[in-house]
């Protein structure tokens, strides 16, 4: 009986590798976020038009960017998984979704917090916010589809197709809502404050974004380790020859 070892080796090799990377990403995330918060909350001057409420963008914009970025990355892994039939790719898809959904949720909540003082309303049907809301539904769809299918392989592949279809949808939503808004002459205040944003503000925002990105990497890698443990248990651990080896890999 011939066993295709490379098929198993991917998660097997990745598990300890991910374990080594997590502390690094975690530390970088903590440091960058700390500096970002220092600049955003303490150093950066106030904004003329919006007053201090603008400081919300230091969490809102990074969260919104991450939510979109993670969805694209998730769909990318789904495409790799569907194309190459690689299980590790589907595990990445599975690990990314909750963090992406969390950032989407945060972008929506902080968007409302920003909108109330600035627009005078918790919610405005602006293209960005609407796309963000639809994105949340899509994350929910991908995750719920996965949990409602019992067969692991089918769950992987079906939710992968679902994620890929969604990635086409988001830009269409964005432009359609923008088009719709110009038609209705609705809110035209854009969320990213001003084109010539003060350099210090931009620095703070980019630092926060980088910090969120590193945080996502750390969290996603540790989630993918959980997923490997949960899903591969028998096949995975029984490939190791001794208990000592198991302990080492862990």
């Amino acid at each position: 009986m011939k066993i295709n070892w490379s098929k198993y080796s991917a998660p097997l090799a990745f598990y300890p590798l991910a374990g080594k990377m997590i502390p690094w990403f975690g530390t970088v995330a903590a440091l960058t976020i700390a500096v970002g918060l220092y600049i955003g909350l303490l150093v950066a001057p106030t904004d003329f038009q919006q007053g201090e409420a603008y400081r919300i963008i230091f969490v809102h914009v990074p969260a919104a960017w991450m939510s979109m970025f993670l969805y694209v990355v998730m769909a990318g892994w789904a495409a790799v998984g569907l194309g190459l039939n690689a299980r590790l790719s589907f595990m990445m898809t599975q690990a990314i979704a909750p963090t992406g959904a969390m950032f989407t949720f945060l972008a929506l909540v902080t968007g409302a917090m920003w909108g109330k003082p600035t627009w005078g309303a918790w919610w405005v049907w602006d293209a960005r916010l609407t796309s963000e809301l639809i994105l949340l539904f899509q994350y929910a769809g991908v995750m719920l589809l996965r949990t409602s299918i019992d067969d692991q392989r089918r769950a992987d592949r079906a939710s992968g197709v679902c994620a890929l279809v969604g990635v086409v949808n988001i830009p269409i939503i964005y432009f359609s809502v923008q088009w719709w808004n110009t038609l209705h002459q609705g809110a035209s205040v854009s969320m990213t404050a001003a084109p010539k944003m003060a350099a210090i503000m931009l620095t703070g925002m980019l630092l926060m974004t980088f910090g969120f990105w590193m945080y996502s990497l750390a969290v996603i890698l540790s989630r993918v380790r959980c997923v490997i443990l949960e899903r591969e248990s028998v096949q995975f651990w029984s490939k190791l020859s001794s208990v000592a080896e198991v302990a080492e890999v862990r």
Partner: protein, 227 residues
């Protein structure tokens, strides 16, 4: 033995589904009836002022049409999945996406087309007239096939999954948003006297896009579902 041409096969699929729909006319009637009822509930809820009704007409009729489409999605593949006809369809010696297109077209004939045909009547209920009514029909004519195409992806993904009825709504409704915006937008702008052409051409673009991509996605989803 000669292979039947692609068109013959496609026609075979469409013919069978239309024949089945004729045998089960009540299924078709239900989604049409649903549309009429939903559309009639709004005036009862909002009040009978013609001005108000005219403003909400585009949105209400489009949302109702969208929900009626959603309701009928379960019929695209489920029965075939349960009685084994779907697995036979996967073994037909023709490209699956094309066969899917045939099935979706047949489904649109019995669920989308009745909505289009009925829409002028509903439009009258809401006080729409003349050109606006025409735009409504045209927007639905372009939009409902798109809804069926997109919906088929969701219907294929949830085949045989528990709680599939609600799940398909969650999967498909986000994808329906652009069609809703352009469809209702066409009627609204036509009502404002701007003319609905821009929105209608965007609807057409959506239709072309979905005709290109949805059959492939649906075919992939069907293969996954039947593994």
């Amino acid at each position: 033995m000669t292979q039947p041409s692609l068109w013959e096969t496609l026609w075979g699929i469409i013919w069978r589904d239309l024949l089945l729909a004729m045998r089960r006319r009540s299924d078709v009637a239900i989604s049409v009836l649903f549309l009429v009822i939903v559309a009639s509930l709004f005036p009862l809820g909002v009040g009978p002022e013609p001005a108000v009704l005219r403003t909400i007409a585009a949105g209400v009729l489009w949302v109702a049409a969208l929900l009626a489409c959603l309701l009928s999605l379960g019929r695209v593949f489920t029965a075939d999945y349960l009685d084994g006809v779907l697995e036979q369809m996967l073994l037909i010696p023709q490209p699956l996406p094309v066969l899917v297109m045939g099935k979706v077209f047949a489904h649109w004939m019995v669920s989308g087309l009745p909505i289009v045909l009925l829409s002028p009547l509903l439009g009258l209920q809401f006080g729409l007239e003349g050109e606006v009514l025409g735009t409504l029909v045209l927007s639905l004519l372009l939009g409902t096939p798109t809804l069926s195409m997109i919906g088929s992806i969701g219907a294929a993904l949830v085949l045989g999954v528990r709680g599939s009825g609600l799940l398909v709504a969650l999967l498909v409704l986000p994808l329906y948003v652009p069609v809703l915006i352009f469809g209702a937008g066409a009627v609204t702008s036509s009502m404002a006297g701007v003319g609905g052409e821009a929105n209608l051409s965007l609807l057409g673009a959506c239709l072309v896009l979905s005709l290109f991509f949805a059959p492939w996605a649906t075919a992939a989803a069907l293969r996954i579902a039947l593994e």
